[in-house]
Chain length 362, copies 2
């Protein structure tokens, strides 16, 4: 069965997450809610072979999309990166009970807070807090007397992104919630990559972990609830308990779509083009200015400000009129944030650029 | 937009969970995947007023459906009851660091295991392990020197159910995953009720907590990650981090459907009728026998066995031919399990009963 949406107004969804996914994925997901091999995907047992096949395929597609090497496992959990903060700290804790964290904003700060809460002595060896997280720290010295290093690859709220990852021989952990699958990465550089699904992977409700097998089961924490132990999830192939069936199913659909459209490499190219188009306008249009250091600009979340804040209402009316949604900056920083995740078409970016040009000519 | 499923074979889904929901809910959920106020429900920000309204309504409908009294809060989390085992133990831990648990099977045992893992001295003051959990313990003495009492109201795997809840002045905690919303309860008797959504509430991916406000923030645990602290979720109105948007949305639809059809009181009546129809057949049909004590039989999960196990293949072929799915017992106990949750129509039960009668006449 196929059917078409009756949306009469084309919306351009620049929301920061949960965010746009490919329209075909929405169609396929809606179809499966009505008919997944004769049942609704919402009423299928997670132990049914048809769903086990979905889970297996989702895990396999993650491995394919990111060229996950041998010796790594992929698992889908729940709780978002927020529970992930606790999970990675517990699973990476070793005898030193000390870890090095880079603080690049709200989510990095959350990771630091939760690591401390489980008893880790956190060494924040690099931070951009002095300039309200408008840049990515560089030239830092990575500590050596720690169990692991943690950073946040893309900072959704501020619009900064690591262009080069920290280089270290220590175990490296990264919260990639908001830029995973947007560009090629070398998984072998990491011990744990984790990511809430609701940007480039799928709808909210699933959290992805890519874990080096050799780190499993080696925590020094005396506290390890079963659900927080990655070893349990890996061994049970993400079926330790009832997984978020529909979220995993839609993530699987989205990964199929990604791979059918050239995979992460082609996506990176398109994302670069979208970001270049928008940043060019921000730099050339006198009515706007970027919010962060040019070299650290995110290709996922483009933050910008009006040069004349008194024209805010005028600009807001214009982009809303154009069918744009989700453009206001995070409530903690203000301004504007155009999230241009994988599924946002360049045509939507062009609509925004056109609005910005018209606005400048008023 | 509305559309009809093209299912040509009517399925009777007796699966134990994730399980059947009302067909109208599947239709409405599919519609929202395509069009929820102009976007897909899968791409709507959880901070958007339209989703905040969904969350507020879901919480409100839980309160209406169960007559939740003043002084209680409702929250939606992730992680299922399995993470709930840890959460309730952490949140109810007081100075004694001791709790009384009733062991009525796999999930109750899981709750005991996780309580121990967070440092609780567990007193299993009642258990039906001696007879492979085929009955609900009675005549037990509830300990008084503990922080709280925990039990599991319905045992999905074995097919037993508490008909009377433990009476105590101590804080009472219940895992109601598999029978919440199936019958009237007195919420004021409990300090925490928690439940994975995927039986009578909605699709997998959300976990419901109904919490007495006065217990919040009083844990004696030195270990309390933010995500595991119910106080944080209640204060943030289930928006501590990105909630499982779609699961909460469908739960809201399902609760609307429940209340539009007479609420929990009417549902209890229908559930009693369905259970009576099926248990009557089990008792009267010489080809079958019940698997648990008659007085402790679950109205949600009806477990039964063939009197002649050699006829298993014959019976299996017959119910499959009739469009029945999900009937095999849990892999740990065998036999059959007909889960007759709220959304399973009595017509489906009649189909099963007819198959059982025909089978006996062969």
């Amino acid at each position: 069965m196929n059917f078409e949406s009756n949306n009469t107004t084309m919306k351009h969804n620049f929301g920061a997450g949960p965010c746009i996914l490919p329209q075909e994925v929405f169609q396929q997901a809606a179809n499966a809610v009505l008919d997944f091999n004769g049942l609704s995907i919402l009423e299928v047992s997670h132990r049914h072979k048809d769903f086990v096949a979905v889970m297996d395929e989702a895990i396999d597609l993650v491995k394919k999309a990111l060229n996950v090497p041998e010796g790594y496992s992929v698992a889908f959990l729940q709780g978002g990166a927020s529970l992930g903060f606790t999970i990675v700290a517990l699973n990476m804790m070793r005898d030193k009970k000390k870890a090095g964290y880079i603080n690049t904003g709200t989510w990095a700060s959350g990771a630091i807070k939760e690591a401390k809460k489980v008893g880790i002595d956190v060494d924040v060896f690099a931070s951009s807090e002095d300039k309200n997280f408008t840049y990515i720290p560089k030239g830092y010295t990575i500590p050596t007397d720690v169990d692991y290093i943690h950073f946040t690859s893309n900072n959704t709220i501020y619009g900064t992104q690591f262009k080069e990852f920290p280089k270290t021989d220590l175990p490296l952990v990264c919260d990639m919630s908001s830029d995973i699958f947007s560009k090629e990465i070398n998984v072998a550089d990491f011990d744990i990559i984790y990511a809430g699904a609701q940007k480039n992977l799928g709808p909210a409700g699933a959290t992805l972990y890519i874990v080096k097998d050799e780190i499993l089961g080696k925590s020094s924490s005396t506290f390890m609830p079963t659900y927080l132990d990655l070893k349990q999830h890996v061994e049970k192939e993400s079926m330790l308990n009832t997984p978020p069936v529909f979220s995993v199913y839609v993530a699987m659909l989205n990964l199929r779509n990604l791979l059918a459209n050239g995979g992460v490499k082609a996506m990176e190219q398109r994302n670069n083009e979208k970001a270049a188009l928008l940043y060019k306008e921000i730099d050339e249009n006198p009515a706007f200015k970027g919010a962060v250091e040019v070299e650290d600009r995110s290709n996922m979340n483009v933050t910008f400000l009006l040069t004349d804040e008194d024209r805010t209402a005028e600009f807001d009316a214009m982009w809303k009129e154009a069918g744009i949604v989700g453009l206001p900056g995070h409530r903690s920083v203000g301004g504007y944030r155009a999230s241009i995740y994988n599924a946002l078409p360049i045509e939507s970016v062009q609509v925004l650029v056109d609005v910005m040009r018209t606005f400048n000519q008023h």
